[in-house]
């Protein structure tokens, strides 16, 4: 880790330290567990979005894809709306639905040559539409033991969902470091045209990255359903911007080519600690959003100050 990667972890430690000093409730073990549990869904979404950001693209499809997969999984496992009881298979199908939608935005990007900002915004709307269709006015409640258990049952003090999030980070890191897909995603962010000059066809890799991201969102939708015990069309509301913010706070560049899963994980923790800490120290709900925004900006500013260079491009 070079100096320029050190900013976000330092910010995390500092923010954590400040809250710990201010609030006795914050520094308890159970609250640390709570923070980790609360970070689970955002972590998984951010895992997906990180690869897209690494390519220099952007992805706003999380709300739609999560909504679709949340309703889908609720309707596929044992529930109050129909007689399905596919259990784990249902979960897999919901994740595949997410992957499929992600794949669509990737395909629209490479075949229609429409910027990812638009394709993913479009796919998000499509996902919400599909979710609303499946929702059909009656909330599907999950009665499946396994799915509901993921949020409730604990291992070493952490909910199973949190371990799933850990696993996603690990998988994401391995993909980023040891797979051609991950390295090419990184390279596409660095210099896409050069890959083409080296005889690499980038289009399939782009589609694959969006598909993988979609799968992560699909899983995140499943996780939200497990937490809420019901399939919600709005399961993913707001996750697009918070995931991007977390990734960027962690040091991933929006123009691509820098950062990675571990950066993003730090970013997610930073954001989650903030949310939790502000409630713990009792900041008025009116001010919370504002204080959070201010601290995020300050954290990023503090992180970039040591690496500022004269002719550095900031977009």
């Amino acid at each position: 880790m070079s100096l320029r990667d050190a900013g976000p972890p330092v910010a995390l430690v500092v923010v954590f330290g400040i809250f710990a000093a201010l609030s006795p409730g914050f520094r308890t073990l159970s609250n640390v567990q709570n923070v980790l549990d609360a970070a689970a869904v955002l972590t998984v979404v951010t895992c997906g979005i990180t690869f897209v950001l690494m390519m220099g693209s952007i992805d706003l499809s999380a709300p739609g894809i999560m909504g679709a997969s949340a309703i889908a999984v609720a309707l596929l496992v044992a529930n109050n709306r129909n007689d399905n009881d596919y259990g784990l298979l249902g979960v897999v199908l919901a994740v595949l639905l997410g992957a499929g939608l992600g794949c669509l935005s990737g395909l629209a990007l490479v075949t229609l040559k429409v910027p990812s900002f638009m394709t993913t915004l479009g796919i998000s709307a499509v996902g919400l539409g599909v979710a609303t269709l499946m929702f059909a006015g009656v909330q599907p409640n999950v009665s499946d033991r396994m799915l509901a258990g993921l949020a409730v049952e604990r291992f070493l003090g952490l909910a199973h969902l949190t371990w799933i999030a850990f696993a996603c980070v690990l998988v994401g890191w391995l993909v980023q470091r040891y797979s051609r897909l991950g390295r090419y995603a990184f390279a596409i962010g660095g210099a896409e045209e050069v890959l083409a000059l080296s005889g690499v066809r980038v289009a399939p890799y782009k589609v694959a990255v969006f598909t993988m991201a979609g799968a992560f969102y699909g899983l995140a939708g499943v996780m939200v359903t497990s937490q809420l015990g019901a399939g919600l069309v709005q399961a993913g509301r707001g996750y697009d911007f918070s995931a991007i913010a977390a990734a960027v706070v962690g040091g991933t560049l929006l123009i691509g080519g820098r950062g990675g899963i571990l950066h993003s994980a730090v970013g997610v923790l930073l954001v989650t600690v903030l949310t939790n800490g502000l409630v713990q120290v009792g900041v008025s709900p009116y001010w919370q959003g504002g204080v959070q925004g201010l601290i995020v900006v300050a954290a990023v500013a503090a992180a970039v100050i040591p690496q500022r260079r004269r002719n550095q491009v900031t977009k």
């Binding site: 159970s30 609303t132 006015g137 009656v138 949020a151 709005q234 949310t275 713990q280 709900p285 009116y286």
Partner: protein
């Protein structure tokens, strides 16, 4: 009175052929059980009079609501009846003014600025709402009772800038004043959202731990989110109350995991607004004949707890509720 078409809005008032009437129901979105049920209620009424309802949703987006309304009013408005759920208090005035100008019949529900008087308008027929202060207090009292009159509670507020959220919380504060032993440990907003309520509750549970004996939520969605959080934390000793009587909340009350909620009857709301407009448009009811206290009124609501929950599990629409001479039967009195 048979001559429809040529005259201005005034001439057309109360002179619409039932077949020419356009019925429009507008709510935030269909992906929310309460509002979906509302639109279904509108459909039921429309069927009853042999029409169809145009279902509009604006996804909780104020500007989009205004845009849809003004586009709607730019079309044929002579026999247009709108039953609208304004997104927030501030969204009501432009809708009202637009309808007034275009001569469309309008009923609004839930949100209206206090100083906007229905009686100042001819085409804004009525405003219906539930007494939020009352509901907030009712469930507050139920909560206090459930925890034995004393102990710590937390509150989950709705979207902070809505009248509903404010009224309900004000009602809760009244209840707190009446139950001095009940201590409000913390209040946070979860924006009427189940997912946010889950996170906020988890955090507050770690912050206050065993001190929390009850959770007051400004709607059932948040109450259900809080229930999930309690389940995940392995807490079964916390009383939870909400408002709206959505099906899941009723189930939870039946099962005993939730303490109380307050009914607001979505299907009825979806039908009644159209019914009032329909009756005026066809001339069966004249605007001048609607009593002032029926121009802005609180609809009847019930506190639902384990004792009476069975009566509310499957709300029935009674056709007679929408008869032109029975429109205001559920009134609990004029809005103060």
């Amino acid at each position: 009175t048979e001559e429809v078409g040529g005259g201005g809005p005034a001439a057309a008032a109360g002179a619409c052929d039932p077949a020419d009437i356009t019925l429009v129901g507008q709510v935030r979105n269909e992906s929310n059980p309460y509002e979906a049920a509302w639109l279904d209620g509108g459909d039921t009424f429309a069927e009853q009079v042999g029409l169809t309802q145009q279902r509009l949703t604006y996804d909780g987006d104020s500007t989009r609501q205004q845009e849809q309304i003004s586009q709607l009013l730019a079309g044929d408005t002579e026999c247009l009846v709108m039953n609208v759920l304004p997104n927030g208090d501030s969204d009501t005035p432009p809708i009202v003014e637009g309808a007034e100008e275009a001569g469309a019949y309008l009923v609004t529900q839930w949100n209206k600025p206090a100083d906007l008087n229905v009686t100042d308008y001819d085409h804004w027929l009525s405003h219906i709402t539930y007494d939020g202060v009352e509901s907030g207090r009712q469930i507050g009292d139920a909560l206090a009772e459930a925890i034995g009159g004393s102990g710590g509670v937390i509150a989950l507020q709705g979207v902070l800038d809505t009248g509903a959220a404010k009224d309900r919380f004000a009602g809760f504060e009244e209840s707190l004043a009446a139950n001095p032993e009940v201590e409000l440990l913390d209040d946070q907003t979860a924006n009427f959202s189940r997912a946010e309520a889950l996170e906020v509750t988890k955090t507050l549970l770690t912050k206050h731990g065993e001190d929390i004996e009850g959770i007051w939520a400004a709607n059932d969605d948040m109450a259900l989110g809080a229930l999930e959080a309690l389940e995940q934390a392995g807490r079964t000793d916390v009383a939870v109350v909400g408002i709206d009587a959505v099906p899941d909340a009723l189930t939870a009350i039946e099962e005993g995991t939730m303490t109380a909620t307050v009914s607001s009857d979505g299907p009825w709301q979806g039908g009644i607004g159209l019914a009032i407009g329909y009756c005026v448009a066809t001339g069966e009811l004249a605007v001048e004949d609607i009593a002032d206290e029926d121009r802005a009124w609180f609809a009847e609501q019930f506190l639902i707890d384990q004792d009476n929950v069975a009566d509310f599990v499957s709300p029935e629409i009674t056709e007679s509720d929408f008869a032109c001479d029975n429109l205001f039967s559920r009134s609990q009195g004029a809005m103060s």
